[in-house]
Amino acid sequence: MPNGNLDFERPLVELESRIEELRRFTKEKGIDLSAEIATLEKKAAELQKEIYDNLTPGQRVRLARHPKRPLALDIIKLVFEEFTELHGDRLYRDDQAIVGGLAFLEGIPVTIIAEQRGRDTKENIARNFGMPYPEGYRKALRLMKQAEKFGRPVITFIDTPGAFPGLEAEERGQAEAIAVNLMHMSRLQVPIVVVVLGEGGSGGALAIGVGDRILMLENAQYSVISPEGCAAILWHDASFANEAAAALKITAKDLMELGVIDEIVPEPLGGAHRDATQTAANIKEAVLRNLQDLLKIDVKTLLEQRYAKFRKMGVFYRRKSADAESEG
């Protein structure tokens, strides 16, 4: 097996390579080991269920950042037809940490916006490890406005450690770029479906994350601050990231309970990286179903519902009553 397996995956990976060995042995030596193989396979399935049914939030964070986890372009290729990338913000440059373009989803023309990491070091440098600059967000907005003009729905895919925190990003107005996207996405006159694929890193994720339906892969995470960042502030030690991940409530299940997302998209057992095709099929089913619902709603109602969706997020009390006022 190639490198990049997580420690809690290792017993399973080892078991799987033993099964692989027995199979090869059977083939090469012509000895029937099917009984042994069946036993080990049963054991592997049990082990897999045991591991993945009991993941801690910290382990889920590592799955969400798994080196083999399918990236946005992998998923786009499997979900849509004829994806055609469109480049640039028309102002400064083409930020490759965000890809955008046109595609068909079962015959429906859509605009796609996605945060894209690199698979290797070279690509990661080109894509700035999936951390967009302001021009990335401005490209996204340009393409969303284009979608609005032509009445195309928008599908966005979130996967970023965060918006890039560098001096040049400040010079070009990182905060402004994010804020403007939040405002315009909340008023965009076409349906928007958001899918959180891997890591939803704070404002850099939200900047393409305002929509009518927010879907989230089972092992994805979405957080106001990285667990490491939170641990550094709270425990003065980034190695408390697991504790921070639990405290911050960043898993798909947590976000569902907090009313921030609408639907959890199931991953194949063991995580999206173990079967990208199945993962994409699950995403396609969920996106298509939600989009078909949204396409039935008139624009005015759509925008009212979108406003109300975010309007009710947050939990607080009123002094006179002891009950929580609003829970998204």
Binding site: A179, S202, V224, L258, G314, F316
Partner: protein
């Protein structure tokens, strides 16, 4: 509503001042004289107060409370607070959060990090929201997001100009993803106000960063900053720690933002009320011969 005069009468024994660039929080004893932490000049304490906590020698703007700012902006006796009955919850059961809130309330005498109200500025009725950095770094959780949204919606309903004075370290970590969503909520409300043609003036006080800066604070029709205010998405410390970039002097300051075309005006705190009134006058219905019209 306390006026500026009342504020001075009831001021605490110690005035906390936080000079830019220095992380340690020193308190200046409320004696007759203070030494400006920026320029080192000895100042008569009353003189600093008369100058709205701006050093008369070097122009350094000391950090002040939301109540202090309100008193300095509003016409006397016109400020009427609303949404002051919202109380912070602990939706995540986050370690030590209720204690942190209680300590902040005791320290500041405020229920949360923003105060909202209606008032008049040189006779112009407006909706005003002012943040307070001393309340957990002016961080935005559910209550701040809700109150700011209520202020925006009130400006929309009552067709009044909106002024928000923002000072914040960003989203409130202890409310997790719900804090992040306040950025979307407030920005969506500004989007509605925009479509209705409402005026929104955003005033950035030192410091204004992260989640607040990446939402409503950046969305003003006109954006004003206090001189030398630290304004950023990611502050200099974040950049130095994560990207290990060497930063030129003055980066992330109001003047740097002005140079890069990101803000409209830099206004001395002592001139803020007059500037706001002037801007409101430009947006009031035109009257032949000038003069102040009702907004």
């Amino acid at each position: 509503m306390p006026t500026l005069k009342d504020f001075f009468r009831s001021k605490p024994k110690y005035v906390t001042v936080h000079p830019i660039g220095k992380q340690e929080k020193r308190e200046i004893p409320d004696g007759l004289w203070v030494k400006c932490e920026e320029c080192g000049n000895l100042l008569f304490n009353k003189e600093l107060e008369r100058n709205m906590m701006v050093c008369p020698k070097c122009g350094y703007h000391y950090r002040v409370s939301a109540r202090f700012r309100i008193a300095g902006i509003c016409d006397e006796g016109t400020f009427q607070e609303f949404a002051d009955d919202l109380v912070t919850a602990d939706p995540l059961g986050f370690p030590a959060y209720p204690e942190k809130i209680r300590a902040a309330q005791e320290k500041t005498g405020l229920p949360e990090a923003v105060i909202c109200g209606t008032c008049e500025i040189e006779g112009f009725p407006v909706v005003l929201a002012v943040m307070d950095f001393s309340f957990i770094g002016g961080s935005m959780g559910s209550v701040v997001g809700e109150k700011v949204t209520l202020a925006i919606e009130k400006a929309l309903e009552e067709k009044k100009p909106l002024i928000i004075v923002s000072t914040s370290g960003g989203a409130r970590m202890q409310e997790g993803i719900l804090s992040l969503m306040q950025m979307a909520k407030t920005s969506a409300a500004i989007g509605k106000l925009n479509e209705a043609g409402g005026l929104y003036i955003s005033v950035l006080a030192n410091p204004c960063t992260a989640g607040v800066m990446a939402s409503f604070a950046s969305l003003g029709d006109i954006i004003i900053a206090e001189p030398k205010a630290l304004v950023a998405f990611a502050g200099p410390r974040v950049i130095e720690q994560t990207v290990r970039e060497k930063l030129p002097p003055g980066s992330h300051r109001a003047e740097f933002l002005m140079e890069h075309g990101l803000i409209d005006l830099i206004v001395d705190r002592r001139d803020l009320k007059e500037t706001l009134a002037k801007l409101l006058r430009f947006h009031a219905p035109a009257q032949v011969g000038g003069g102040k019209a009702d907004a």
